[in-house]
Symmetry: D2
Subunit: 346 residues, 4 copies
Amino acid sequence: MTLTASVVGASGFAGGELLRLLSAHPEFELVQATSREYENRTVGHVHPNLRELDLRFTDPAELDGVDALFAATPHGVSMANVESYLDAADTLIDLSADFRLDSEAAYDEWYDGHTAPEYLERATYALPELGRDGLEGADIVASGGCNATATMLALKPLVDAGLLLPDDRVVADLKVGSSEGGAGGGAASSHPERSGVVRPYAPTGHRHEAEIEAQLGLSLSFTVHAVDMVRGAAATCHTFPTGAVGTVGTADLWSAYRDAYEDEPFVRLVAGGGGVYRYPEPKSVAGTNLAEVGFAADGERVVAFAAIDNVMKGAAGQAVHAANLAFGLEETAGLTQQGLHPVGSP
Amino acid sequence: MTLTASVVGASGFAGGELLRLLSAHPEFELVQATSREYENRTVGHVHPNLRELDLRFTDPAELDGVDALFAATPHGVSMANVESYLDAADTLIDLSADFRLDSEAAYDEWYDGHTAPEYLERATYALPELGRDGLEGADIVASGGCNATATMLALKPLVDAGLLLPDDRVVADLKVGSSEGGAGGGAASSHPERSGVVRPYAPTGHRHEAEIEAQLGLSLSFTVHAVDMVRGAAATCHTFPTGAVGTVGTADLWSAYRDAYEDEPFVRLVAGGGGVYRYPEPKSVAGTNLAEVGFAADGERVVAFAAIDNVMKGAAGQAVHAANLAFGLEETAGLTQQGLHPVGSP
Amino acid sequence: MTLTASVVGASGFAGGELLRLLSAHPEFELVQATSREYENRTVGHVHPNLRELDLRFTDPAELDGVDALFAATPHGVSMANVESYLDAADTLIDLSADFRLDSEAAYDEWYDGHTAPEYLERATYALPELGRDGLEGADIVASGGCNATATMLALKPLVDAGLLLPDDRVVADLKVGSSEGGAGGGAASSHPERSGVVRPYAPTGHRHEAEIEAQLGLSLSFTVHAVDMVRGAAATCHTFPTGAVGTVGTADLWSAYRDAYEDEPFVRLVAGGGGVYRYPEPKSVAGTNLAEVGFAADGERVVAFAAIDNVMKGAAGQAVHAANLAFGLEETAGLTQQGLHPVGSP
Amino acid sequence: MTLTASVVGASGFAGGELLRLLSAHPEFELVQATSREYENRTVGHVHPNLRELDLRFTDPAELDGVDALFAATPHGVSMANVESYLDAADTLIDLSADFRLDSEAAYDEWYDGHTAPEYLERATYALPELGRDGLEGADIVASGGCNATATMLALKPLVDAGLLLPDDRVVADLKVGSSEGGAGGGAASSHPERSGVVRPYAPTGHRHEAEIEAQLGLSLSFTVHAVDMVRGAAATCHTFPTGAVGTVGTADLWSAYRDAYEDEPFVRLVAGGGGVYRYPEPKSVAGTNLAEVGFAADGERVVAFAAIDNVMKGAAGQAVHAANLAFGLEETAGLTQQGLHPVGSP
């Protein structure tokens, strides 16, 4: 069986990563990549890692009929085009935030409303480690956001185990790479201004809070910092589990995290031990669909960590994972890339 | 008036920075730099920025008599040698943690005890923005630690203004450069392993907590991450001021921070505004003795930021600042270096 | 058919990369990884990308019998142990310089002699793009060195086309990443000293000159600089082809390079065109076994460029490529990893 | 005596550095900074290191009368405005290439001609280490370019000593930081694309060749690579001195370089010795007006190195140095900043 796939918004970073994954995927055949700006250029012109690929960008207004259409477009584009996407494809896998929340009211509160609210109910949120219900056969898949993914993977085992309760205090302090700013970027993304930074760029009120609250039932305080790497998102979640004060120990935490993830193909637990790499680090998973997840505890606090490649597990890899599930394929198909060691600032 | 000064432990990073500052200081004359490992080599052999300096490392066992002895040695060396340091110098300015806490009990709790507890009472803690009492004429000055300095500069205005109370929840999430690991380093500090990291290296129980609790009366949760820069420490303090929930606004915060720091020569407030640089960033103060301090508020949380150069305001610059005060000199003498723009990962 | 393979020196960077490649190779089964220092630790303890691998380091003194033994040991170790390696394995693939030159005299001139010169004649040099003669069935394979590989891939088409003659002037200016310094490293490799450098570390007399002269018949001037990346080697070869002065144009060069490499699976030509990526860049091939090769010409000079991942095409990938050829396997088996875009300093 | 100074083009990187230097200069009073884009914003809005400076950008069309006008504008702006600049100021110090060559013919050959050729004769080229003739009292000073400065400082001693003759082969291989691309930048300067590169961006035909040929009488082959740093330019000059083949040794080179630079306040010779820092490195001089210069020799080649901070010695520092000479001030006035150690990628 071969399924056809197209990528809309293929000149961006997540779009390029989709091209990388789909062009080597055992079940999908990549048939179209759109880009208004680079129409008729080869995809290798923009993505130098894909020079061998014999494919040119086409006009997003002329979509081929496909089994799966991956939309890697800026916020607002998918909701404006959802009808034509669904005309062209059996399944839309959307990487933007346009279909992640489940009600128009939520978009009114966190964004500037929604222009196609009638489709919200048809959309299935996809962060498979949180649950796979409804993904098989879904016609709109809303792939989880990068910072929310890292945060929720760190916290989910604490919630599942009843250690973390809805009203417990949670602070999520994120450190992310420059690829989150997207291709092009402005002055803040230029190399001289962006190099070597520890830059708080969303100190309060980040929109991913909404996604996390909807999925995990937790209200949390969220702050994002830009640091000097290109790929990667690392979440440090400082939690204060009132029901577990002074009683939760390392063994309980190992138990909670193993219960949550022992069957997950893309989660790797890293918590202590010797050597250089003792806790989750984004560079250990760069280029892969893996998430490293770990924890540490002191008297009244549990610190939960997660590290992902924001372009992979935080975007394109997660979308392909969701598509594998939507079409009933092997979950890990096309997603078995290994990480590198040593590796710099990937 | 010229005062003589020596640096013990001068081949390390803080020691080298002391040489840089003292060799250009208008009131101190640098007369000795010790290093067991590099005895007889020029200081420029180790510190390439100081090649013009006509000075060679000498044996730390043979100390010249000086007005001020700066000790930039690893933990434990100063307490072992305090007597000989005080024999050689009128004033000891110690950059290690050996005299920062005020009781033997505290060293038993946080460290492996103390070998010269009788000197603890004579020592004056120095982070001048917290208070200058007792610094003039002090004979042992315990210069504040880098991560504690960043954290306390962020929080102090909230404490002073009564917004943050002793039992309020405070999470300090630190991001620091590789120079904190010291010269030499091991495998974890090697460039291939250390480049591009977001690495939690002290997830819980960092010793700086003791220093902060002693100085600010706050109990806090402290986690330190290594990130890809050489100089710099950035503290993001997530605070939950129970007495100010829902009432504290940006104007109150500006007022609190201005009250705390308006006369401070080394503090620069940065909170919002437009452009690329809206909050404190270590690279904006690299090479200087400045601290950038700022804040943001949402409903129930105040996020307080501070960024310093850990080798300067977090070590050598702070020590020279303290020495200026101890000897009754102009506070800013020798500490007026400007930052750079653009600058990479300084 | 499955062939068994072992890696001696498996805790180093090239050794770890061999583990990565062999553990996912369709024809080799990885059965042993040795490390004196980390005996009994899992390979994931040292190489965090290989945490899923169920394999522990063993004592290099106790070698399993295998089809292929890959030696990734420091200079001198392979020549001291060649006998036991050949006892254990049908084929030794050596990644060091110990068997790259073909005579004891050459080792006397460029190194400190050779302790097993009787094996030199049995060794086959392997940089497959220079020639595959003798590789099939070889029992000692001397895999080409990283800097020599980049340099020779840039120059070979000019030699083949008769544009560059043996006495023509060639300057090779190399820029390399910190992984070339190996795991561990000393002060010069520590992050604070190694970050942000452009550091000439072998201004003249680099030993790779010998390898290049032996293979290409060119005498060249070779200078190596450390720059801020972890993986990667980029060669800029400034050549002055006396026989082609003023006559050689871009079309001739395209012709020469296409002739040389059109059937090569691991060479990608990149020379001009628009966009950001116009010439070979190491980061475009990081993590892959690809070499990017390109050129530019002015009146009397041809500048030839090549960029590789020194750990892959410059070490482990090249060795696996050679092993594929030695055992008559598909050349590209296990070596089809894709590069990333964007990617930082891989 | 206080001289007034203005900076035109003050929101760029060289312009900002001029503000830094002039605001702390003992003899100049900074009275105006122009920027069309940021008119009325504080200079600290763009240059975070200058937040303490009480100065706002003004319209470049309304110039104050000053003693010295520094123009840090893109190529072509100074030639278009030279008349109004000279109306406003006694002395124009131009940092662009607009007045570096001495004839309209040269601008026709290397650029797109010149719109104010009648001023070319009045301009004095300024790279003080090459000669100070004509600088005192000059009314148009053409400050030397960054890459040309590094290259010429490396080569000049060889020319002066008669070791390098006009027809000798010289290859200059440059490695430069991202600040050379200027503020703003495009896609190629964005952090994700620019991080970790070794990118040949001017493989042949760089315009600085013209400047070098005019000043040193050498014809050379020039290739520029972008590497991962922000500030810095490093020149590696591979020279083949026909008159000195096989006879020139290290002692001769030391003698040549000492003769050339022993009285130069901004040149530091670095050639061999032990330790980590053996040859010129840009990070050792970052933030300073110093040039590190060094050399190494093998049989027939002399490799000459120079490293500068392109924003300082390659632009703003050189311009202030020239202004000091033009006004008869102490040469080093305002230019005694020290470098840092350790420092990352400054």
